[in-house]
Subunit: 341 residues, 2 copies
C-alpha cells in the first residue's frame, strides 16, 4: 500500500504537522510557523523541503541541538538594517517577528537588509520571500548551511549548499520567484535520490576520495557536492557564505559540528534578506509592468520554464483538490503527531 | 614587430587614452574617467576591457550613439535610493558624480541602492565596486547589455552578457572581488578569441541555427552565447536583466538596436549597485575579520584562485614596472590620440 495516495487539505496537513512540532518541544507559535512553511513546500511541489523534512526536524528537536521555544531578539541597527539573533531557534519565526518592521524600512528607505544569525534554516528560501513580491516588493535572500560542497579547484568541502532566492512582482501575473542551491543540487534532493536508488547527473559531486561521481550514496557517505557552473557558481557560493555569516554573525558552513547532538540535522548558520521597493526606481517605468514585458519576450523566445510558475500552478490546484501524500507517509506523520513514536 | 612590447607607465597610458577620448568628442571630465577606467583594466590584466576596447569606444563616439559630453542628472529618491539619468552618456561618470552621496547613504542607512539608467557601460564592473571594498563597504553590482545570450531552454537571444560583480573587505588583505558575465564567457573574450583564431570550450554558445558551437566566429556571426551553469545561471541572468532595467529605467538588452548609428558598439542599458555597511551586522563579529577566517579556510582547502588576488598582484607589479603593450597597439593608440586616424 505504500504507493497509494491520500489527499489532505492544506488546513489538515498544517494541523497534523503543528501537532508533531508541539509534541517535539516547539512553542505553539513556532510549531504553527514551521507547519505552515512545510505544508506550503509540500503543496507547491518543493518535495525536498516538504514533509520529507519532518523526520529531520524531529530528530534535531529531540537531540536538543535547536531550541523549539526560542524567542528571537530583534535589533534595529540603522534606518535600513535589522539584525535578529534567533537565539538558537529556527529562522522562520525570527523572520516572522521582524517582518513588519522590515517592510516598513524597505518602503521608507527604498532598500533594507534583514540579517538573521544564530539560526537554523531547514527549508526552502522561496516561502520566505514570496510574500514580499506579492506586496509589490523585490527580495533577494541567501542562507549558508553545513560544509558539503568543494569549492571549484579545491580539494575539501568548505561551502554549504548556500542557496540564493529572488522574488519580484510581475504586473497581471504571479511573481517571478527562483530559489536554488548554488551547488549542482540541493542536499535534500541527493537524499531523496539515495532513498529511491537513482543515480544523479554526471559531475554532481565527488566521493570521499575527491573523484567525481553520480552516485548519491557516495556523495552522502564522506563525499561532497560541487558548486554549479564551475568557478562562477563557486564564486556565488563564496559570496553567499561571506554575506550570510559575515552580516548575521552566524557560523560559516564549516564552523560547527553536530557531534555533541547525535541526530541533529539542521545547520546553525545565518540568513540575509535584501528587500527593495521598486517604486523609487525606473525613471517613470514601473518594475512590475517592465517585468511583464520581459516575461512576454521570454515566452516569444520559446522559454517555457518561467521561475515560480510551476509552484504557483500546483498551489492553486492543490488548494482546490488537496495535497497528495503517500499513505505510508501519512501513517507515519499521524504516529508522530500522536506521540506514539 | 607586432609582437614586441613596450612598457607604459599608468600615468602615460591614462594621458594617451584621455587624448583619444577628447579627440573623439568627450568632455575633459568624461575623457579622464574613461581613460583611468580603461588603463586600470589593462593594468590589472582585464584585457577584454582594457585598450582592446578603445576602437569600440571611438567607433561608438563617432557614430553619435553616445554623448561623450553628457552631464548626468542625480535624483535623491529615498534615504537609501539614488537614481541617476546618465543622459545618454557613459555609466562611469554617472557613478563618479553620485559616489559621495551614495557612500553617505550606505553609511547612514546600512544599505543603499544606486540605479543608473539611460547609460552606456562598456567596461568591467569590478573597477566600479573595488573602491567601496577598499573603504570597508560591501558592494554588489549588475549591468545588462545587448541581446546576445539564449536563455536556458529558449531558442532565440534575450539576455545580454549581464555581468554580476561583488566586492568585500578582508582584514589584512586586499578585498575579495569577483566580476563575471553570467554567460559562459564575456563578449569581449569571444571577440579576442575570434581575432586570434582560437576555438572556445565546448558549449560556449550557439551558431545562427541554434546549434551548440565552440567557434567564436559562428557565435559572433548571427549566433549567440548561452548562460553559464544551465538553468541556474540562466535564472541569475534573468534577475540581472530585470533589476538593472527595472530599477534604472534603462532598456532591456533586447530593446534597442544600433541600426541608426552604424559603428556603435556600446549597449545603452542600466546598472545597479547595492552598497552595504557591514559594521551594522555581525552580532559583534566584524565582516572583514570573518572574511579573513574564510580566506584562510579556503587556502587550507587547496583553493588557489581567490577572486581579485591576481588583479591585485598585477596592479602592484605594473605600478612599479609599467604596463606592457604591443608596439603595434601603442602606435595605433598614438595615431588615434593625435587625430591622424
Amino acid at each position: 500500500m505504500s504507493d497509494a495516495f491520500e489527499y489532505s487539505s492544506e488546513k489538515e496537513l498544517i494541523a497534523l504537522l503543528e501537532e508533531i512540532f508541539v509534541q517535539n518541544g516547539c512553542s505553539d507559535v513556532v510549531a504553527r510557523q514551521l507547519a505552515e512553511n512545510c505544508t506550503g513546500a509540500e503543496r507547491d511541489g518543493s518535495l525536498s523541503h516538504g514533509v520529507f523534512r519532518i523526520e529531520g526536524y524531529v530528530n534535531t528537536l529531540r537531540s536538543g541541538w535547536v531550541d523549539g521555544k526560542a524567542v528571537p531578539i530583534i535589533e534595529d541597527k540603522a534606518p535600513g538594517f535589522i539584525a535578529v539573533d534567533a537565539n538558537n531557534g529556527f529562522a522562520q519565526p525570527a523572520l516572522a517577528l521582524a517582518h513588519d518592521a522590515f517592510v516598513e524600512k524597505i518602503r521608507s528607505n527604498g532598500i533594507a537588509l534583514l540579517a538573521i544569525g544564530n539560526a537554523h534554516h531547514f527549508s526552502s528560501l522561496w516561502p520566505d520571500i514570496l510574500p514580499f513580491a506579492e506586496s509589490g516588493l523585490v527580495a533577494l535572500s541567501m542562507v549558508n548551511s553545513f560544509a558539503c560542497s568543494v569549492p571549484h579547484g579545491a580539494s575539501t568541502p568548505v561551502y554549504g549548499t548556500n542557496p540564493i532566492a529572488f522574488a519580484a512582482p510581475v504586473e497581471g501575473q504571479p511573481p517571478l520567484v527562483f530559489d536554488f542551491a548554488t551547488t549542482t543540487m540541493a542536499n535534500g534532493d541527493v537524499q531523496i535520490a539515495a532513498k529511491e536508488g537513482r543515480s544523479l547527473p554526471a559531475g554532481t559531486g565527488v566521493d570521499r576520495n575527491g573523484e567525481l561521481t553520480n552516485n548519491p550514496d557516495a556523495i552522502l557517505d564522506g563525499g561532497a557536492l560541487v558548486p554549479f557552473g564551475g568557478h562562477k557558481g563557486s564564486a556565488i557560493s563564496l559570496m553567499v557564505e561571506l554575506l550570510t555569516a559575515g552580516l548575521s554573525g552566524g557560523n560559516f558552513s564549516f564552523e560547527f559540528d553536530w557531534s555533541t547532538h547525535p541526530g541533529a540535522e539542521t545547520p546553525k548558520t545565518g540568513q540575509i534578506i535584501i528587500g527593495i521597493d521598486p517604486s523609487f526606481g525606473g525613471l517613470g517605468r514601473g518594475l512590475p509592468s517592465r517585468a511583464s514585458v520581459l516575461m512576454k519576450m521570454l515566452e516569444d523566445a520559446g522559454f517555457d520554464a518561467r521561475p515560480g510558475l510551476r509552484r504557483h500552478r500546483l498551489c492553486a490546484e492543490r488548494r482546490t483538490h488537496g495535497i497528495p501524500l503517500k499513505i505510508s507517509q501519512l501513517t507515519r506523520l499521524r504516529a508522530l503527531a500522536s506521540g506514539a513514536i
